[in-house]
Amino acid sequence: MINKIQLYHGDGGVKTNELIREIFLKSYGEVGKVSLSDSFVFTTKASKLAYTTDSFVVQPLFFRGGDIGKLAICGTLNDLATAGAKPLYISAGFIIEEGFDIEALRQIACSMGEVCKRNNVRIVTGDTKVVEKGSADGIFINTSGIGVVSEQYFPCEIEPGDEIIITGTIAEHGTAILLDRYDLAIETSIKSDCCALSHLISDLERILPYIKLMKDPTRGGVATVLNEIAEFAGFNVELLENNIPIHPQVKAVNEILGIDPLYLACEGRMLLVAKKGYGSEILQLLQDFCGCREAQMIGCFTSDRQKLVYMQTKIGGKRVLPSLESQTVPRIC
């Protein structure tokens, strides 16, 4: 097999099938599914399903802590998790630029297979298109996912006093992309936090009835996503700067670059809104049994109705955190 993608790899003929067999199915391993049909057919006893889709155009394709393949699966699994859903099936569509390195494609597909295997989910249908050189930037991936929604999870109205938890340190994906994108000669051990959070739905099952909302703080970071939540809830959010978990190196790099980490994306963290009084118990569970040792309760909803997000700073001051207006780093996912 030649080592670069050619236009004929996307024409649906012999070469496309060869690519699917040799690269995708071999890399996906047991989680891949051979089907002669254009559609995957399945039955389920579940009464409630969640269905989501997302496209991935991140640059660079390979970054510290992951690649576009890992991101494409984790992103969709996490979107399902926000709905309280455990994943069942994934679809994966590729738009590949002519001349793309086949070995890189294999690595990307392997990453996808690995995440699926770890999360017990199968890639059951897909599509491959190749476009002329210059018509795409290497590779774009679309994934969609179907999952079964836990019967214990029923998002409900947010009220003053409800508590906000983040499941780990913030801004690591955004910072990792920044470092790689701009080739900054800063020595750090920072990696993208990109990972699947599907396990939270089982791990937290017992206490899911007390979780009112889940949202993953990707584009726009924690500050922007909390603004969306405040808008939806109709109440102010008060954060405590001292409680926000951040890796010291992430903090330092962002200080050097003059970027506020509260606006940088996470790709493996969840924001949870806990019913008033249940925050500590959920936090304990996250820290002790869900592998989220850095999880923290970072704030709560107040009774004020301006729908503002503001922060009590370390020195006791206050500052408002508006939504992100202009993208700090484009094409992060």
Partner: protein, 347 residues
């Protein structure tokens, strides 16, 4: 936390002149802790905000020469010249964002058949490292790297502000980064000649708080007016001798143009004759026409401390980080951008 009790009624105006301090004030939420009559003003401490339109025009002119490409700090891309900004005229592979002047050397080596011009802006903070790069390039090449300078000196603009009584400054937070290069002593003149309380302080919220409170003590007469260095770990009285050596070696002073302010005597650092073969202006004739066109933008009033960002009629209405009218909104260190991001609602 208890709010500070006002001891005096008259408005107290404290200015800082360092982009990082501007951000630190906004991020730390310190305004919330201060009594209403204390105003914190951001002076001309952000290099992007004070870059004159004619400099951007000149950089754009350079691109009309064949095989010239530009290397610049990212913040400069959106700053408008008389007619356009670099990002508006940017064509693929003509303008590269760099994070240090040394990156420009790498770029010049990567494109040996092009002339790379590094847009050298900043105060005495970036001047030494740019100076070291210039010296290095002068001695060892690459020959295809030139510099277009708009480097500024802090002392002349501070004198310009303090001499004008209209600006009514009651206390000064000295620029921490410039002070770490030039030394705390370089700012003693503020207290000695203008009898004004002045402090050098660090950049964490706690440092800023200490700085502002000690200025207030002096302004309110609880402490005698003295020059204080509260950041001795980083700022020595004599500064950083090596950095100062690079400044003295490479640059001399000249009158400089400041955006919205105009000409300020001796406020620019330009290349000494020895190094002028690396000066882009000497190699390529470019427009240096200074036009002071009337503008709705009130950045100069803000830089001089006459207005707070929220007192500008354009702030948050026609001028936002998304669609900045003036440079104070463009740079993340600009007073308006910091205020927009962190301090729009006054508690």
């Amino acid at each position: 936390m208890m709010k500070m009790k006002p001891e005096i009624e008259k408005t107290v105006r404290i200015m800082e002149v360092c982009g990082t301090h501007t951000q630190a004030i906004a991020k730390s939420g310190i305004r919330y802790l201060l009594p209403k009559h204390v105003k914190l003003l951001s002076g001309p401490g952000c290099p992007v905000c004070v870059t004159h339109e004619s400099y951007i025009d000149g950089a754009i002119d350079l691109l009309s020469y064949q095989n010239v490409i530009l290397a610049t700090f990212g913040d400069m891309l959106k700053v408008k010249g008389t007619y356009a900004s670099l990002s508006e005229i940017k064509r693929k592979d003509t303008i590269f964002t760099v994070y240090s002047p040394e990156d420009a050397i790498t770029l010049a080596r990567k494109y040996p058949h092009k002339t790379v011009v590094f847009l050298a802006v900043g105060f005495e903070t970036t001047a030494p490292i740019i100076g070291a790069t210039i010296k290095n390039v002068f001695e060892q090449g690459p020959e295809n790297l030139l510099f277009l300078t708009a480097l500024k000196r802090m002392e002349p603009i501070l004198r310009f502000i303090l001499e004008n009584e209209e600006n009514r400054i009651d206390g000064l937070i000295c620029p921490g980064h410039v002070a770490s290069v030039l030394g705390g002593d370089a700012f003693r003149f503020v207290t000695e000649e203008f009898n004004l309380p002045a402090v050098v302080c660090g950049f964490q919220g706690e440092d800023m708080k200490k700085g502002v409170y000690s200025l207030l003590d002096q302004i309110e007469g609880k402490q005698p007016v003295t020059f204080l260095n509260l950041y001795p770990n980083c700022v020595r009285n004599q500064g950083n001798p090596l950095a100062k050596e690079f400044i003295n070696e490479v640059y001399e002073t000249e009158d400089g143009f400041w955006r919205g302010i105009g000409e300020v005597g001796d406020s620019a650092l330009v290349l000494k004759e020895k190094y002028q073969r690396l000066d882009a202006k000497k190699r390529f004739p470019i427009s240096e026409k200074i036009t002071l066109k009337p503008s709705v933008c009130q950045c100069s009033e803000i830089i001089l401390g006459r207005k707070a960002p929220y007192e500008c009629s354009q702030f948050g209405v026609n001028c936002t980080p998304e669609n900045p009218l003036g440079p104070c909104m463009i740079s993340s260190e600009g007073a308006c951008s910091a205020h927009y991001k962190y301090g729009r609602v006054i508690f």
